[in-house]
Symmetry: C2
Amino acid sequence: MQKPVSPDTTYTDLPFDVFARACPSRETLEHVTGRWGSLTVGALREGPCRFNELRRRVDGVSEKMLSQTLHALERDGIVTRDAQPTNPPRVDYELTPLGREVADRLLSLIHFLEGSMPQVLSSRQSYDGSRGGL
Amino acid sequence: MQKPVSPDTTYTDLPFDVFARACPSRETLEHVTGRWGSLTVGALREGPCRFNELRRRVDGVSEKMLSQTLHALERDGIVTRDAQPTNPPRVDYELTPLGREVADRLLSLIHFLEGSMPQVLSSRQSYDGSRGGL
DNA sequence: CGGTATCCCGGCCGATACTG
DNA sequence: CAGTATCGGCCGGGATACCG
């Protein structure tokens, strides 16, 4: 799966291949598909959102992890952060055009999986049953 | 994002919503998008594959993690395992029809991200630059 | 409201050794 | 070849406290 690479070239010169250990695309994929990354990007697809509203959309995320997740996504250019210097402070997060493309592909996967859960749960039962019965 | 749920119903009666904390679809999403799950499913899209061949396709994965990942995916009905009782042993892994659908959506995301890496890397530079320069 | 700093535990994950 | 078993570190991530 890895493409050959001559020793003195860097990955930035080459097509990016996520299957290669050293490729930076692997980091971005992990930011986007990580435990909280996928849900955060998916939730933002519904529109711009403030911090605590986002926390409510992504059920179960802690302040710390949401903050970390948003910083990583902002750094990668998936999300923009708009902080207004008002009191009380108001910060809006929003997907970039790049982020919207990512979100659409992610949501396609998410919705497909949600729709496949009956099949998945049934498969789990067979698997667990055949193991327990041996 | 979470849908209201009356106390005495279980999630299996309801549409599955990955944004709700207790929804089992969240586990499956994590199996499929996890650090090694996404790469394993993506690699298997190229066709059936034996264990060590798969290890080579997914650069950097350990035996232990590949084994764990494959078990979780098999349990969820994403991957089939075909063990032939020969010597030396030969085991082929293959995507199920469900797995192929998942893989296509995953690869759509992966290929999009690979193609967006110049933009991502440039965004990272701006982000890091504006932080370092303050 | 919208965060950051600190503490700390569980479990992810790599390394190694062993089995059939 | 295709795994399983065990050990240990390290870090993801929750809880809490605190700041502007």
